[in-house]
């Protein structure tokens, strides 16, 4: 699951592997701007077959936070 989650991040945000993905936060890197955020949420929803509610979308502020949200939605890491 960790690998899958990491891959979704890298693909959705078109990351080049220079950043340590586990540490990235919303609006702290160019790729994770509002557009990146929408793409990321959409790809995570598709990949893990979940639906983020409004609070989830707002609270999804970092890689680590996203993991917590997915766990809450039933994904087993």
């Amino acid at each position: 699951m960790d690998k899958k989650y990491k891959k979704v991040f890298i693909d959705a945000l078109s990351l080049n592997g220079n950043q340590k993905v586990e540490n990235i936060k919303y609006n702290e890197i160019d790729e994770w701007d509002s557009i990146g955020h929408m793409t990321l949420v959409s790809e995570i929803e598709s990949a893990f077959n979940v639906t983020f509610d409004t609070d989830d979308i707002v609270n999804f502020s970092s890689y680590k936070e996203g993991k917590k949200i997915l766990t809450k939605l039933g994904v087993k890491f």
């Binding site: 701007d33 557009i35 929408m38 793409t39 949420v41 929803e45």
Partner: protein, 324 residues
């Protein structure tokens, strides 16, 4: 412009506004002289990344909509492909005379995208929600008017507008998510209505975010009563597809127009104008929309139900028309 299915899914999730802004990142590759001009609107139109990545193609004139159209006109005059955007009342009504003089009369080409039109901003009240702006500019010559049915059609409309030589007003409706009408890329032509479902007795002529709910209502009607009615996506209100309307008038007993707009001045009126020219027209026109009033404020889902424009209400109205 290549459109993939995964884009269509994403665009549906993020809504038509964000789709608009996002698609420009791709569209600007083909239009080197693209210039986006806005009135203090960027994140509201999904334009934040565009603004940061292509600052030379982005001009913010501040909350000055008269100047928005004036500056857009000037840029167009020296060869830029200009798109303006702000919330729909300000995009159209605040600068309506500039639209008349510069785009209608002088025929400078600008594509105007009105954000969050129709009822979606109902919680902010009707200074920000828009139920009259199609009527306002329909009487200005030389301007196309498009109301895309979903996020994909939003992209198709913007692209098509840039490709031709008239000014265009594109009215974005719907919320987030914005349900899909189209699951795949398709052929879009300004002024050519699209038949989405084939049936009898009733022809639904609908635009914007009401298309999906019309399709859902039609599906329920078929499921419960095996009655099949036709659904036509009239994405272009001007030039209205007269040929299609004339064809429809010969074939159907009832024509139902549906829009998130006043029944005066918008799609319904445009259809009525064409029908009134038909000799011995036997089809009966029923116009559904906002009945010339400002509704109370409220959430989008509340308002469309209140105004009988949601799929449940449309289903009931179709049944009533068919006497079942």
């Amino acid at each position: 412009m290549k459109i993939e299915d995964k884009h269509i899914d994403l665009w549906s999730k993020i809504g038509s506004r964000a789709t608009f802004g996002m698609s420009l990142l791709e569209i600007q590759k083909e239009f080197q002289k693209l210039q986006i001009v806005t009135s203090d609107v960027s994140t509201s139109a999904g334009l934040d990344r565009f603004r940061k990545t292509y600052p030379e193609k982005f001009t913010d004139v501040g909350i000055s909509e008269q100047n928005l159209i004036g500056v857009a006109t000037g840029l167009s005059e020296v060869g830029f492909d200009v798109i303006t955007t702000t919330f729909s009342p300000f995009q159209v009504l605040r600068c309506c005379e500039q639209i008349k003089n510069n785009l209608g009369y002088m025929k400078s080409k600008v594509t105007m995208v009105g954000l969050a039109s129709g009822l979606v901003l109902g919680t902010l009240g009707f200074t920000h929600a828009s139920i009259e702006e199609i009527g306002a500019i329909r009487s200005i010559p030389n301007i196309n008017i498009i109301s895309p049915a979903d996020s994909l059609e939003t992209v198709k409309s913007v692209y098509a507008s840039l490709k031709q030589n008239k000014s265009t007003y594109i009215r974005l409706t719907g919320g987030q998510p914005n349900p899909k009408v189209y699951n795949q890329d398709y052929n879009f032509e300004i002024g050519k209505a699209i038949k989405l479902r084939n049936g009898e007795e009733i022809a639904v002529i609908v635009c914007g975010a009401r298309v999906k709910d019309s399709l859902d209502a039609r599906d329920k009607l078929f499921e419960n009563y095996k009655k099949n009615i036709s659904i036509y996506n009239f994405h272009t209100i001007k030039p209205i597809d007269e040929k299609m309307i004339l064809k429809i008038s010969k074939k159907y007993k009832y024509i139902v127009t549906i829009e998130e707009h006043n029944i005066i001045g918008g799609l319904g009126s445009a259809v009525a104008e064409v029908l009134s020219s038909v000799k011995e027209n036997k089809s009966k026109l029923i116009k559904l929309g906002v009945k010339d009033t400002y509704p109370p404020g409220g959430e989008y889902s509340y308002l469309i139900k209140l105004l009988n424009l949601d799929s449940g209400s449309l289903y009931k109205q179709f049944k009533k028309i068919l006497n079942i």
